[in-house]
């Protein structure tokens, strides 16, 4: 709809699934957000019909194209595998000749490692392949540590578009969200990686990020200050996704911008492209003490990462796709954080968008963040 030619100013929240339905994702009841535009006079009935069809199944058409490419790709990839099969056989031969030393388990481990090294991009996998890689990762973890994790590969649900709102008046800078996030998402403890940054700002100076302190160590709330949190905003038109040379990061149908940690080559181009400081890189091998590992994982979410790959907030995909709130929302003692489905007219987030004066950061860049700020 209007989003194709005017994507700068209108976030067309409905564009993915709900064409033609009466509710609008923008939060306004009707007509207030440009995404409801009736066919205007310049379009004849026929043209409009075409445009509407295009808008509603455009995505699917696109996908078909992908599938075609995907098929070719897979066959080529398997050709590549065959090419290197001699290597595999060689390795296998060595392996079997030493088999009285190497147990079945280490053979299986080697097999898993091999398949993991040459698997495809998660974005292009079908459900069986997704399940296979998840199973491999779970098994691999079991072989290595003797512990069992659960890892899901749940896909985006229909009629869901996640959004987030942040109440600046409520936030007191306690940073409980930051700690909960680190624990939930198995972030590297050595480098103290954090997805969320809380900016402490001075009263009377407005939203002056330049003078804000995002690394404070004193008692909060500090006199004469207010607080504002930032993280990945899951932009609807994410610049980080366009620049990735290998499509290791993409926007899922429920609006989450995710990364396939195994496909990322670590070029950090996406980091340079993100205007919101939303991405974090594993400069060295991330380490989480075994006892602190969150074993309830999602492939695209909090599973353990390796060194040299990008990661970021996923709105806790392992939780949100299971119908729960992200860890930061749950941990916030003040209720400053609100999360929900933008397409559900009864959700709290929709209430906030409809009744509060909301704004987003750097709207001029056309990134359409799905993260709104508001005040009481």
């Amino acid at each position: 709809m209007s989003s194709t030619n005017k994507k700068w100013f209108s976030l067309n929240l409905n564009s993915k699934h709900k064409q033609g339905s009466s509710s609008c994702g923008c939060g306004k009841t009707s007509g207030g957000c440009n995404s409801h535009k009736e066919p205007n006079t310049e379009l004849s009935e026929e043209e409009f019909f075409d445009a509407a069809v295009d808008a509603s199944i455009g995505e699917e058409r696109h996908k078909d194209g992908f599938d075609q490419v995907f098929d070719v790709k897979m066959s080529r990839r398997s050709a590549f595998k065959k090419l290197t099969a001699s290597l595999l056989i060689g390795a296998g031969a060595v392996n079997t000749s030493c088999s009285f030393l190497a147990g079945d388990e280490s053979k299986e481990k080697a097999q898993i490692d091999w398949e993991e090294q040459f698997k495809g991009n998660y974005k292009l996998m079908n459900n069986d392949e997704k399940k296979a890689t998840v199973d491999r990762l779970v098994r691999s973890y079991q072989l290595r540590t003797g512990k069992t994790i659960s890892m899901s590969s749940t896909n985006a649900e229909d009629d869901v578009l996640f959004g987030y709102a942040f109440n600046i008046s409520k936030c007191q800078g306690y940073m409980d969200c930051v700690n909960a996030c680190v624990e939930e998402n198995n972030q590297d403890r050595n480098s103290q990686m954090q997805y969320i940054r809380i900016h402490e700002m001075e009263d009377g100076k407005g939203f002056n990020f330049n003078e804000a302190d995002d690394n404070y160590y004193h008692e909060v709330p500090a006199e004469g200050h207010f607080y504002m949190g930032t993280q990945c905003f899951h932009c609807d038109n994410p610049p980080c996704v366009d620049v990735c040379p290998v499509q290791a990061t993409w926007r899922e149908d429920d609006g989450l911008v995710v990364i396939d940690y195994d496909w990322c080559v670590g070029c950090r181009y996406c980091m340079a492209a993100c205007p919101y400081d939303g991405r974090r890189f594993n400069w060295s091998k991330p380490e989480v003490p075994e006892s602190e590992i969150n074993k309830n994982q999602h492939y695209l979410g909090n599973r353990l990462r390796k060194k040299g790959v990008m990661e970021k907030c996923t709105f806790c995909v392992q939780r949100s796709r299971a119908g729960k709130n992200p860890a930061c929302v749950e941990a916030c003692p003040t209720g400053a954080r609100i999360f929900g489905n933008l397409l559900d007219p009864n959700s709290t987030i929709r209430w906030v968008l409809e009744n509060k004066k909301v704004f987003r950061l750097k709207e001029d860049l056309g990134t359409e963040p799905k993260f709104w700020y508001f005040m009481d």
């Binding site: 790709k73 620049v243 040379p245 499509q247 496909w263 181009y269 205007p275 400069w283």
Partner: protein
Amino acid sequence: MRRLKVFKRLVIDSLDVITHGSKKYHLWMALLTLIMLIGMYCYSIQIEQGLSVTGMTDRVSWGLYISNFTFLVGVAAAAVMLVMPTYVLKDIDFKQAVLIGEGLAVAALIMCLAFVVADMGGPSVLWHMIPGIGVFNFPNSMLTWDVIVLNGYLFLNITIPFYILFRHYQGKKSKKSVYVPGAILSVFWAVAIHLVTAFLYQGLQARPFWNNALLGPRFLASAFAAGPALIIIVLAIIRTYTAFKIEDKTLKKIAMVVTVAAQINLIMLISELFKEFYAPTHHSESAYYLFFGLEGKTALLPWIWTAISMNVLATIILTFHKLRNNFKVLFFACFLLFVAIWIEKGFGLIVPGFIPGPYGKIAEYTPTGIEIGVTIGIWAMGAFVFTILARTAIKIETGELRYKKDK
């Protein structure tokens, strides 16, 4: 079949040429090998421990590697300034210089690719980027464009000189109809590698320091100054140490190219400075950081001011015919210009793009010893590759190396 035999002979002969030489030559190659080994050792540490051994952080996520990559793309593109007049305009002056220039382009491109690989967090999964086997995000990602144009340019710059040398090796003349189309193509290609590399940065709305329309053209101007400047220096060295004849006229013509490019570059610099400082906005902060420092953080100040003074001085020297025609002064000016642009188009361009960060955070970047080790190692590799290429080419061109049927 015969071609294959000739090719085999050529490889054997050039191996011979490469491994034999004066004491000075051996010393030079040994030195380069040593530096390369040190670089490789540093790289192995980086592989082992991750990119945390470099000075890069989440705040400044590109550093010395990408800076050098950017600069070297410019050097590679410059070979074309010599290709065009020689092959197309029938200006025979340049013919000798061209092979050297293209050798330089090949070496620069190999260094570029090495720098990109050194910068990757996961070099073991780089196959994800190979079209067909992996997923190539074309045409969305400018990086994929860059991969295509750089490799294409590398291919052109290997095949054209190879064809010419291969013919000369057999004592035959090279056919114009074969190499001229290639040469013309490579002219456009050189502009493309440069623009595409500039677009890599220019297209990021997140970084106002890069997101300006002048970035691409300025890349071109500075490249066409720094590249030929390097070629002049290299030709001067070759002229003194080998039998390869390069006329004064050739050097003077290249100097002319350098001069014009340097002047244009300076004009663009002035335009840029005017825009940033006449009516400074929030978006001028990176420029402020670069030229004056922000909040007491001034790491780049000495560098950029050195670069600018060298740049201005060199441009002034080059502008006066009297000075330019004195070879000693010319070489000095070329050296100044080369270093100045290396600073300016290297970390003077990349690092300030990240400072201040998206929310105004100012975190400085200083490269670590390991990073510098890898960088110098890659430069040594470039010099090594170039020496080999140039040596073989010169031997063939001077007629010392010829195909003999039955040896």
